[in-house]
């Protein structure tokens, strides 16, 4: 039996700061995905929603919130949360039901309406919550973690602020013609270097914004798509994984790492393990990728990903970027969509949006940002509290 499922339809609501209810963004994306698939809402027998933590109870039960908004029709439902990896979990649940033969047509939807500024923890005095501890005791925001990793790159590999800025320059060009991107404007190294220092060594334009947005997929069995004569892009692997103990890398939202004194860390760190788990499942390697969508929460993090997903060796990412390999037209374009640099993060929608981009690329419909001959793509991210997310899409 095939372990692959077909992406029959994709849809998105443009990213931005629209000031409306998240349900509107999700429903727009869902309707677009349903129309794109050439089916009707009544054909859907399963809805998986990506939860949002910032929009009250409807956000915690996103699956049924979207189903109700589209009109309750008795579909089975699931709601998932895994921080930035939320979307991949929702896709994984839908895939499992299809592969088990329990569902024919699944709709996956994620949407968010994000507040301005730093993501903050939930209100209240909760000294037991690591998310409370890091803000209260250390003043540790999300960009501070990105700052730590960036300073590590500078210390270990001699990375410069200009290297980080060049990631943004590349992504800002990639996203110029993406109708779903929030920021469609070229940015120069000088502009980035002149923007305020937010979390040393990262500046405002090195760090991704928080956005409103929505993304959706219609997934079916490969047979279902073939019966309709559609050669749809297929999901060949999903790795929504946790780390292994001891994790020696300081990850959000913790104030310390595990101790590596009683057991040695795995040879492969958490982030590489997310990618390689997916490669193994799909039976491919990094050399087979035509493109990748990686989670550039900061510019420097994109460079980390090049090494972690195996596009280049450790310490080589700056040279790899400067060679043009990850630019459109290069060996393996990274973030042809424009990435988070052009979108800003809409947490539960983002991993789904990454897969939408892979599908458009593989169908040859990524107008103005098309990777020529794209056949195999990887979408990857990591959410706080130990959530990995990697999806491989094949043509």
């Amino acid at each position: 039996m095939s372990k692959e499922v077909a992406i029959l339809g994709v849809g998105m609501h443009p990213w931005g700061k629209w000031g409306r209810n998240f349900v509107e963004y999700g429903v727009k994306a869902a309707r677009d995905a349903i129309a794109d698939a050439g089916i009707s809402w009544k054909d859907v027998d399963f809805v998986a929603g990506g939860d949002t933590m910032r929009n009250g109870y409807p956000g915690y039960v996103a699956g049924s919130t979207f189903a109700e908004a589209l009109g309750f029709n008795g579909t089975r439902v699931a709601s998932c949360y895994g921080a930035c990896a939320t979307g991949a979990q929702a896709i994984d649940v839908a895939r499992s039901r299809i592969l088990a033969g329990l569902s024919d047509v699944a709709l996956v939807v994620g949407a968010d309406a994000a507040p301005k500024g730093f993501f903050a923890p939930q209100k209240g005095d909760r000294p037991q919550d690591p998310d409370w501890q890091r803000f209260r005791l250390v003043g540790m925001t999300n960009p501070n973690y990105f700052g730590l990793y960036a300073r590590r790159r500078m210390a270990l590999y001699g990375a410069k602020s200009e290297d980080f800025a060049l990631v943004k320059v590349k992504n800002s060009r990639h996203g110029l013609h993406n109708p779903y991107a929030r920021y469609r404007k070229e940015v120069t190294v000088e502009e980035i270097m002149a923007s305020p220092l937010v979390a040393d060594p990262l500046r405002l334009l090195d760090i991704c914004a928080t956005s409103d947005g929505g993304a959706a997929l219609v997934l079916t069995s490969v047979e279902f798509a073939e019966k309709r004569g559609i050669k749809a892009p297929r999901i060949a692997a999903i790795n929504a994984a946790t780390p292994t103990f001891p994790n020696p890398i300081l990850d959000m939202p913790y104030i310390s790492t595990d101790s590596a004194a009683v057991a040695a860390p795995a040879a492969r760190g958490f982030k590489p393990s997310i990618a390689y788990g997916a490669y193994e499942e799909a039976g491919i390697g990094p050399e087979d990728l035509d493109l990748a969508e990686v989670y550039d929460l900061s510019t420097a993090l994109e460079l980390d990903w090049y090494e972690q997903i195996g596009l280049c060796g450790e310490g080589e990412a700056e040279a790899f970027l400067r060679s043009g390999a990850t630019t459109l037209g290069g060996k393996v374009p990274v973030n042809p969509s424009g990435g988070l640099a052009c979108f800003g993060e809409a947490v539960p929608a983002q991993a789904i949006a990454q897969v939408c981009e892979l599908a458009w690329q593989i169908r040859g419909q990524a107008e103005g940002r098309q990777v020529e001959g794209a056949k195999v793509g990887l979408a990857i991210n990591q959410g706080l509290f130990g959530h990995g997310s990697a999806v491989i899409v094949k043509g």
Binding site: R136, N144, L197, D200, L250, S256, S259, V262, A263
Partner: protein, 153 residues
Amino acid sequence: MFYFRVVTKKTVPAIEGFFTMDPERPRLLGSRCKRCGNHAFPAEKVFCKNPSCDGDEFETVELSARGKLWSFSHNGYQPPPPYVSPTKEYEPFAIAAVELEAEKMVVLGMVPKPYDHTSLEVGMEMELVLDTLFETEEERVVVWKWRPAQAAV
């Protein structure tokens, strides 16, 4: 007639049980699993994080008060609550991630004034201190911080 009263603020920890309150010899308080010996900070109380261990008894241990700077960052803008600024006008501060050699773990902490991110370099020796996190009318709330080591051990 006037009465003068010296107001001595009570010094309290920002969180219970995370560190000792001896300003001369501050220590972070972690846990050691009685079964496998795994160290953890914040201290484990209920279960051991080691997947090969089902230990549920822990002893409190003092962690190394010195270590090497693994990396650092700073906050150019005020973090959201529950962070509380010690000053009316927000002042940027640095954050250190320090690697403890014996425990093989990295622990975060703020960096006290007058140090800032320009005082720091990855790999330098750091030491634990107690410093004010913020003050209320009645209390001085203190927390552990990491500063560049002042003298050789």
